[in-house]
Symmetry: C2
Subunit: 204 residues, 2 copies
């Protein structure tokens, strides 16, 4: 009986295998959707045997979860460092910078982002997609608290929620379902989303 061979890459060879599997999972997810993304197809696409797949991932869910983690981490890294950079900046500057970064973050791999959001069922481990929102919420709330002299909102919780949801939703929709808006008038979009948030937060 195999005790627990899963998920312990040691040599270089195996790390290549794991990387190929993650790449293949992402590609198949984008091309065929979650339902049609069978583990056999993924292994095939990766040029790896089905047996190898199950050496590193206990099941399909874990495989997809790993792809999600990698992708969200990539996006979150951008947002985190942007928030550090603007921590001391006034609201107007900070918001504009963040909106701009959020659009960039969504451009890391739009087809994959779309596939993950629209295709992957949020059950079990796959629920972690929402973790990103919670972290963003906490970071923004901290910023607003530090700058509460500049802003005028009756409730910090509600305000943080509104800012995060609005910016996330708008950048997501723009990149995913309205690429035309981004091509033709990206600067208008950034200006307008910034104005939306700033005029909401600003005193009088």
């Amino acid at each position: 009986m195999r005790t627990r061979p899963r998920k312990i890459p040691g040599q270089k060879r195996s790390r290549v295998t794991v990387a190929a599997l993650l790449e293949a999972t992402a590609r198949v997810l984008v091309k065929d959707g979650y339902e049609a993304a069978s583990t056999n197809k993924i292994a095939n696409t990766a040029g790896v045997s089905i047996g190898s797949l199950y050496q590193y991932f206990p099941n399909k869910e874990a495989l997809v979860a790993a792809v999600i983690d990698r992708h969200t981490e990539e996006m979150m890294e951008l947002v985190r460092e942007a928030l550090v950079k603007v921590a001391q900046q006034p609201v107007e500057v900070a918001v504009r910078e963040l909106v701009s970064i959020m659009i960039d973050a969504h451009r890391v791999d739009p087809p994959l982002h779309r596939a993950l959001v629209q295709q992957v069922p949020r059950v079990g481990r796959l629920e972690s997609i929402e973790a990103i929102d919670r972290e963003a919420y906490a970071l923004v709330r901290a910023y607003l608290e530090a700058h509460c002299g500049e802003v005028n909102v009756p409730d910090l919780d509600v305000a943080s929620f509104i800012c995060v949801a609005a910016v996330e939703s708008l950048t997501h929709s723009a990149v995913i379902t309205r690429p035309d808006v981004l091509e033709d008038k990206a600067s208008v979009l950034i200006d307008e989303v910034t104005r939306l948030v700033v005029s909401y937060l600003r005193k009088t």
Copy 2:
């Protein structure tokens, strides 16, 4: 060979069967998610044989699509009549009313709404979820055009997009992932979302 027996309810009996199937689909979708919602389980839950299911729906996709249609139509009906009602009202009044209605619309059947958004893969016929956005966009754009004297935006397309996406996203998130906000401070939320949109649209 059966030519095309699908989807032609005539007698009262059959309409009851179809209704039971739609209800069961919704319930199973909520309880078990899309993947685990097998047609056999749905037929079982509906108290109907699997054969009957396939008399009215050519496949699982069509069944789920019918549930989506019914649900979005129910929500859209509310939004449509609200928009007619506020067509002549000034921005401030109209926005508040619409935000309020949007929250109500999301309360029609939150668990089902959540299941449809989070579980159902957007492929093939199931893409129609997004049709609702397009209609809302058109209606809002028409309103803004009619009231362009009251508002101050550089681009009607972008502004419509922003209003629809922001309000939809905020009400959705509030009802689905932050029921606490709604319980404790529903009025604060309505006030704040209204302020967000109004201060964005308003002249200076």
